[in-house]
């Protein structure tokens, strides 16, 4: 579909320019350019919404079935989450680190076949958009937590080494980044939990068992435990700062493996999303 392709490519191009501007802002200290980047990001996000809607109207399903659609949706959720958090907490600098992540996902998405294959009847259910949508929204929030964690470690290192630089002054305070970690965790964890629960319900309808220990389920559970440990550590033991930041990054790495690694390296019931094979 030509419109489909056009929308996706334009969105990708806008994200690319927005990323370039955001990086220029950070590297050469041009806050004015950073503002343009955010305006572009908003318009790219709007277009991305149209892309998804267009796809939904064409297929009658939320566009979450192929790898291309998943990547696109993941990027959409990440940008959306960032923009929402930016509106609330004014995290301009984070943009330069979040948008490249979404851009990479989009570029990856443009290299895999775009055609939307008719859905395997076993998967056709209202639980599909609920399960996959919740899982990706949770993933997007965790992506932001990981970025905040990375910035925390960077900032903390500079504070400890007593090395200040222009980047140092642009980064949010440690407290802000740690708060962001906490906030993302308390939003992302329920989303992820619901994602797993709805997945189990759907699995019961589709495959006849709530849990069948296929690799994706196993890794999702491992990831869930990691985040559960982090949340527990934060609330009960007073983990914060560096430890929380590192766990958020580790959790996200684990999450990415659940998303990509499992599909690429291990086979199982969830393997419909691998390259090419429906």
């Amino acid at each position: 579909m030509i419109i489909d392709l056009l929308l996706f490519r334009t969105t990708l191009a806008i994200y690319a320019v927005a990323t370039g501007l955001a990086l220029t802002d950070i590297l050469w200290r041009r806050p004015a350019i950073g503002r343009h980047s955010r305006v572009l990001l908003w318009s790219g996000f709007g277009l991305h919404c149209l892309t998804l809607i267009n796809r939904y109207l064409a297929t009658g399903f939320l566009p979450l079935s192929s790898l291309h659609e998943s990547l696109s949706f993941f990027a959409w959720a990440i940008i959306g989450t960032y923009l929402l958090f930016h509106m609330r907490y004014r995290l301009a600098v984070l943009g330069a680190f979040v948008t490249p992540l979404a851009l990479v996902l989009m570029i990856f998405g443009s290299t895999v076949p775009m055609s939307s294959t008719p859905l395997n009847p076993s998967l056709q259910s209202v639980w599909l958009p609920v399960h996959v949508g919740l899982a990706f929204l949770g993933d997007a929030v965790f992506a932001l937590a990981a970025v905040a964690g990375g910035l925390y470690l960077l900032q903390e290192r500079m504070l400890k080494k007593k090395k200040v630089s222009s980047l140092f002054y642009r980064l949010p305070s440690l407290q802000t980044l740690d708060n962001l970690n906490h906030r993302c965790l308390s939003i992302g964890f329920p989303l992820m939990t619901l994602g797993i629960i709805t997945g189990a319900i759907w699995a019961d309808r589709a495959w006849g068992a709530y849990w069948s220990w296929d690799p994706k389920e196993t890794w999702a559970l491992i990831t869930w435990f990691l985040y559960a440990a982090l949340l527990h550590g934060r609330l009960a033991i007073g983990w914060r700062g560096r430890k929380a930041a590192m766990l958020a990054i580790l959790g996200f790495a684990c999450l990415l493996f659940t998303f990509f690694g499992v599909n690429l390296l291990l086979s199982g019931l969830h393997s419909y999303a691998t390259f090419g094979t429906p």
């Binding site: 200290r29 900032q155 504070l159 400890k160 007593k162 090395k163 200040v164 630089s165 222009s166 140092f168 002054y169 980064l171 949010p172 305070s173 440690l174 407290q175 802000t176 007073g238 983990w239 914060r240 700062g241 560096r242 430890k243």
Partner: protein, 444 residues
């Protein structure tokens, strides 16, 4: 009319001399009027701060004006002129304008980018205005200088980030805690340095202030000053877990806080971060404490290192600022020229119109048989020829304001059309018209 500046600063004169030359005492209006009373000097303004004493003036003859001002400076302060001379710098024309712009933008300051000098300059200008010693030259230049300073401040990083120990501490605290509202500060020792840093911190709407000192009365005095409470020196470690920011500066203390102690305190705080500022020499806190998670320990050398980095950034920004000053000077000159271009355009039009009227009257006088509508047609024809002819040169004149070589066009038009040298007010030359581009060598 020429613009000039004569003065001395921390770069050229020791503090004793700067003190003797300062104009801070006495009625500034009287001094200013005494300056403009000097023959050949029409305007005057004095900038007198602890780092510089400068007289800005407008004079018909810059060399003469400078010599008179120099004598005035010496006589006013009962100094020997020969003794004063080696410390003075004198600029006129474009150099004087550059000097003014650089001073306003804090590029000539001891601490690069410090904001006070702009305020002092504004004050000096207000003083000159109220004493009626500011005229067309100063009135044109000073607003330009303020605008240049504003541009430098907004477009470069020259005024960013702390260059004093106490501000650096506040800035670092903000990098750790974000908002300092509600944060508890503990001050250990009541030295001068501590007081200064504490004043900057308490300026940030922080929460509680705890003060401790070997002499309880001093602690109480300081606590009172900052609206905090004092803590007995022997018991202060017991209160440490409440403090987000700790300032230590006891002179003969040695190590008061060990790593082990702080490890325990941070556990007690459930890992909430702590910012320790140890400005005592010898240090009061074990340097190893910096390796504890969530503890950030800065000693005086660390803070100075931060300041040094910030100063380096300011010096980098200063290069960009000099470019802005260059642009502003070019802009000022093109603005000056555009002022000159306008009367010339008027004169050019006037001259053409005079010729047209004269010549049409002559021709129409010999053509009595024409009816009024034909006459009107001829009038219209001549008018449109003149307008068409003048259009390109007038457009070019209006544009010269943007061109560095603008005055060449002005001169060319003046000669080609044989216009009077000063079209509008032949008796009174436009101010600053002859602002010279060359530095006048006064000392020779």
């Amino acid at each position: 009319m020429n613009f000039l500046v004569i003065g001395l600063s921390y770069k050229t004169a020791p503090v004793e001399l700067r003190e003797r030359l300062s104009f801070t005492s006495g009625d500034p209006g009287t001094v200013l009027r005494a300056i403009t009373a000097l023959s050949g000097i029409t305007e005057g303004m004095i900038l007198s701060t602890c780092n510089r004493v400068e007289v800005y003036a407008a004079a018909q003859n810059p060399a003469l004006g400078c010599a008179r001002l120099q004598r005035f400076l010496a006589e006013h302060h009962q100094l020997d002129e020969a003794q004063l001379k080696p410390h003075l710098y004198i600029h006129s024309g474009r150099d004087a304008i550059r000097h003014l712009f650089r001073v306003a933008s804090s590029l000539d300051s001891m601490i690069l980018g410090e904001p006070q000098v702009l305020g002092q300059l504004k004050e000096a200008y207000t003083q000159a205005e109220s004493s009626c010693t500011a005229g067309p030259v100063l009135n044109r230049l000073l607003p330009r200088a303020f605008a240049a300073a504003k541009r430098v401040r907004n477009e470069t990083a020259i005024a960013q980030h702390a260059v004093s120990v106490s501000y650096a501490a506040v800035e670092l605290a903000r990098k750790i805690f974000g908002d300092l509202a509600g944060k508890t500060v503990m001050i250990v020792g009541a030295g001068k340095m501590c007081e200064l840093a504490a004043r900057h911190l308490t300026g940030q709407k922080i929460g509680e202030v705890l003060v401790t000192n070997r002499t309880l009365s001093r602690a109480q005095a300081l606590a009172e000053q900052f609206g905090g409470r004092s803590v007995p020196f022997a018991e202060f470690p017991l209160f440490l877990h409440q403090a987000d920011i700790v300032l230590t500066s006891t002179a003969a203390g040695g190590v008061l806080l060990t790593r082990a102690q702080l490890e325990q305190i941070i556990r007690q705080r459930k890992n909430r971060p702590m910012f320790l500022i140890d400005i005592a020499v010898p240090r009061n806190i074990d340097p190893e404490a910096n390796n504890i998670d969530n503890v950030y320990l800065y000693d005086i050398d660390d803070l100075n290192g931060v300041i040094e980095t910030n100063l380096r950034e300011r010096r980098k920004a200063a290069k960009k600022a000099e470019d802005i000053i260059d642009q502003e000077i070019i802009r000022f000159y093109s603005w000056l020229r555009s002022l000159e271009a306008t009367p010339m355009i008027v004169a050019l039009r006037q001259q053409a119109e005079d010729i047209r009227l004269q010549e049409t009257a002559k021709t129409l006088g010999g053509l009595q048989h024409l009816d009024p509508s034909d006459r009107r047609a001829i009038e219209a024809l001549t008018r449109s020829i003149v307008n068409k002819m003048l259009h390109p040169p007038v457009t070019a004149l209006k544009r010269i304001g943007d061109d560095i070589t603008g005055e060449i066009y002005l001169e060319a038009v003046r000669r080609l059309f044989d216009l009077p040298t000063d079209p509008q007010q032949p008796t009174q030359p436009a101010p600053l018209e002859e602002v010279s581009d060359k530095k006048q060598d006064i000392s020779s």
